[in-house]
């Protein structure tokens, strides 16, 4: 076969090694450096969102104690917290961070196929983040329209930031989508075209499958957000009436006429629901790999898992209107979307069963990544089952405006993916830096986060069933049906949230401290099979594989193979190099 990879040429290193500090770490085209740039930026902006949630909880737990937090501030915090967490933290971290780091390494490639485009993608993402943050400082402050930015209220003078804050938000989203599209083209093309010899699609680790499918979803769904952002910007700045109906503000009729706010909702959720899976599918994929590695057992039902990812991806485009049951839609329309919503539970449940069956009779090592992976299964089941409630129109309508929904979506698409992010960082940090994260600090971080999360969100289900409305700045005596116990419970939730937020500082400290003082990890501390652990150097050098590209002979899950000497066989070990038990070599 006349295959001549760059690896097989003498000048491989000359082609790949950048020389100066700036080309190596700042304007870098190396996927690993770009991944770390994405990760650090996403975590930094995520800390802003975490701070905002702490401020919100201070207000909710102890109303009238913090005069700094005015009602308009509270709505700004809600809006920015939601938008940052969903898009600028989770999407960017899973696809820009883990996608960039893992795809080339797990597929056995030297880099992304378009490294320059990849670099631009990061810098455009950074611009998007800066424009978003600029929203805080423009006249009128950031937008307070809620993360869904529904018109008409998003651009009416009653909402905070209706003049410039909303424009910053929409501009930032549009810029983010441009950045994501550049990155996404890279991820898809790299997975399709740059796999090393032997790495068939059906031998790829599930982490790559999840990231790949999430990228495809993003490429098809983000245009919906782009369209709505453009049209709303025009409504806001030029006075068109795409979304704005004839409306009066403060007694004065505005110039709008005939626009359709519902159209915005359709466009937003046509993006918004796939977005849930853009965040969830990489988490599904990564957690599959974590469970398999740390339970020393092959993933149960690999092919089923791949098809489930594909089925979820496909179905996620036909469920969007279940976010709009309370918009007064045609009952048949609601029935259709309730049905598709319940159907999507089938492949999802299948994945949960397979994760549990992977653990069944496994040699479970309760390492920190494994703790987070198991916590993910718990949390995802808790959040997912309440999704079955909310997927049904008659149950959703009374619960829709309550804390039940807040608890549901936080557990299923906030906490669950974040637990995977933590697990994945503990798992791959040694490969990124060559050092282990501190185990004790990791366990403290895990237990406080895990238990604290339940102390926050389980009571919220209860509040929701009591009918406590979400989005309220304060529950004062005007709401007659709310018993005093609700206030006690809100204090409890707020105090728990402070603990969970504080323990993230332990994690940050661990990240920094271990970078300098952590225990050296060696190349493959978890004794894992996938290609990224088989690189000649740790952390991998530019070009990843040294002289020759790896060749893959097996799937990614050869753990505890009967008759093999070790309890794992890396993907690049040829069949004739296997050493059966009892042989010296």
């Amino acid at each position: 076969m006349a295959y001549a990879a760059i690896a097989d040429r003498d000048n491989a290193h000359a082609l790949h090694d950048p020389q100066s500090f700036i080309t190596k770490y700042i304007w870098s085209q190396d996927h690993k450096v770009i991944a770390i740039q994405y990760t650090i930026t996403a975590i930094a902006i995520g800390l802003v969102a975490l701070t905002l949630s702490v401020l919100m909880r201070l207000q909710l737990g102890f109303p009238q104690s913090f005069h700094l937090i005015a009602p308009q501030n509270y709505y700004q915090y809600i809006t920015l917290h939601g938008m940052i967490m969903v898009i600028y933290l989770l999407t960017a971290l899973f696809l820009g961070g883990f996608g960039n780091y893992l795809i080339p390494l797990m597929c056995g490639a030297r880099d992304m196929v378009f490294p320059y485009l990849n670099m631009i993608s990061y810098w455009v993402y950074l611009v998007a983040v800066l424009v978003l943050v600029a929203g805080f400082f423009v006249p009128g402050g950031a937008t307070g329209a809620g993360w869904t930015l529904y018109p008409p209220q998003a651009i009416l003078s009653g909402s905070p930031g209706a003049k410039w804050g909303i424009v910053c938000m929409l501009a930032s989203l549009a810029i983010f989508i441009v950045a994501f599209t550049m990155g996404g083209l890279n991820y898809v093309t790299t997975v399709l075209q740059a796999r090393c010899r032997g790495m068939t699609m059906m031998r790829m680790p599930l982490a790559v499958w999840g990231i790949f499918m999430a990228t495809v979803l993003g490429l098809l769904a983000f245009p919906a957000l782009f369209v709505s952002a453009i049209m709303m910007t025009l409504d806001c700045l030029l006075g068109t009436s795409f979304f704005m109906p004839a409306v009066s503000s403060m007694g004065q009729p505005l110039g709008y006429n005939g626009g359709s706010p519902l159209l915005f909702q359709h466009l937003f959720w046509f993006f918004g629901h796939p977005e849930v899976y853009i965040v969830a599918l990489p988490a599904f994929g990564i957690v599959s790999d974590l469970l398999s590695t740390h339970a020393r057992r092959h993933i149960f039902g690999y092919r089923m898992m791949v098809w489930a990812i594909l089925a979820i991806g496909c179905l996620s485009f036909v469920v969007w209107a279940h976010h709009m049951y309370v918009s007064g839609m045609n009952p048949y329309f609601g029935f259709f979307f309730a049905t598709t919503t319940l159907i999507i539970a089938v492949p999802t449940a299948l994945k949960v069963y397979n994760w549990v069956l992977t653990l069944w009779r496994g040699d479970i090592h309760l390492t920190v990544p494994m703790l987070f992976a198991i916590a993910f299964i718990f949390t995802f089941i808790n959040g997912g089952l309440t999704g079955l409630f909310l997927g049904n129109v008659p149950v959703d309508v009374p619960l829709s405006a309550t804390y039940f929904v807040v608890a549901h979506f936080h557990l299923v698409m906030g906490v669950s993916p974040i637990l995977v992010v933590f697990g994945a960082l503990y798992n791959w940090y040694p490969k990124m830096t060559g050092r282990m994260l501190n185990d004790t600090l990791g366990r403290i971080h895990f237990w406080v986060t895990f238990i604290g999360t339940y102390m926050i969100y389980l009571p919220m289900y209860y509040l929701g069933i009591l009918g406590v409305p979400r989005r309220y700045y304060a529950l004062d005596s005007a709401i007659q049906f709310i018993p005093p116990s609700v206030h006690t419970m809100n204090e409890w939730i707020s105090v728990s949230a402070m603990f969970v937020a504080a323990v993230q500082l332990v994690f940050l400290f661990n990240l920094v401290w271990s970078f300098f003082k952590g225990k050296p990890s060696g190349g493959n501390p978890w004794r894992a099979t996938t290609l990224e652990w088989q690189t000649p150097d740790t952390p991998p050098r530019h070009g990843n594989w040294g002289e020759r590209l790896p060749v893959v002979y097996r799937w990614a899950y050869d753990y505890s193979v009967p008759g093999a000497k070790q309890d794992f066989i890396p993907q690049n070990v040829p069949p004739d190099k296997l050493t059966p038990v009892g042989h010296a070599h």
Binding site: M1, A2, Y3, A4, A5, I6, L15, Q29, D111, V113, F114, P115, Y116, T181, G184, V188, T189, T190, L192, Q193, A194, R195, C196, R197, G198, T200, M201, M202, V216, L219, L220, A221, P223, A224, F226, V227, I230, M231, L234, L238, G239, T240, S241, F242, G255, N257, G258, G259, S260, L262, L263, H266, L267, F270, L310, G313, C314, F317, V318, F333
Partner: protein
């Protein structure tokens, strides 16, 4: 109607997605008869069946399909909303008079696409001057198209349809604007290719891929324009 447009978009997306899935069993590292040796600025990617840039272009076309499909879907929903029989509202949708220059522009874009196709065809006969001529002609026609669109905007504006005089006019500006921006993006690649062609040391084979991909992109944008033009004419 609106829901069917949404499903139309969905179907197109699924078809493209399915085409990607068909690659499930391919072995991208293996060489077939038609394989291409890929060189990039950073060195070799080795031999692959399909150049990565071609895959990336097709994926990008899927993204654009989603984008324009959603714009058109929004167009129909907004139009239906204005008619508002079931909302009890009085329609605010008034068709705008289409500037006649749009016909001229359409002809320019068709000629542009034809010229690009001729350039691509001339690649096979390896005649550099002809490739260059057709390529430049293709770009010039595209620039004329964009200039014509801007004149069309002016004419529409002069006849009293600004952004705020009803949704039909606003959609006209937005749809033509977004389409024009995509064509401008294509022209940047076209310009880079033309400049490279002027250098002596650049062989025809080096720009082959760029010209082929430009041609595909041009045909695609022509298709988008024809769909949009029909939409604007008949509503």
């Amino acid at each position: 109607m609106n829901i069917w447009v949404a499903f139309g978009v969905l179907t197109v997306g699924v078809i493209i997605w399915f085409m990607l899935i068909r690659k499930l069993n391919t072995k991208s590292w293996e060489r077939h008869g038609s394989s291409v040796h890929v060189r990039s600025a950073r060195g070799d990617l080795g031999e692959v069946n399909v150049p990565p840039a071609r895959i990336a272009l097709w994926v990008f076309l899927a993204v654009i399909t989603s984008l324009f499909g959603l714009f058109i879907s929004a167009y129909f929903i907004r139009m239906g909303h204005g008619h508002g029989a079931d909302h009890g509202a009085i329609t605010d949708w008034h068709s705008v008079s289409k500037p006649p220059i749009l016909w001229f522009n359409t002809a320019m874009l068709v000629l542009s696409s034809v010229a690009m196709q001729m350039a691509r065809g001339a690649l096979k006969s390896n005649k550099r001057a002809r490739v260059n001529g057709y390529l430049v002609a293709g770009g010039v026609f595209a620039i004329l198209f964009i200039a014509g669109q801007l004149i069309g905007w002016q004419q529409l504006h002069a006849s009293g349809y600004g952004m705020t005089q009803g949704p039909a006019g606003a959609f006209f500006y937005v749809l033509t604007g977004v389409h024009g921006l995509h064509l401008l993006g294509g022209l940047i690649v076209w310009l880079k290719t033309v400049i490279r062609m002027r250098k002596r040391e650049v062989e025809l084979i080096d720009v082959r891929l760029s010209i082929e991909l430009c041609t595909v992109y041009w045909h695609y944008l022509l298709l988008v324009w024809l769909v949009m033009f029909a939409l604007l004419l008949f509503t």
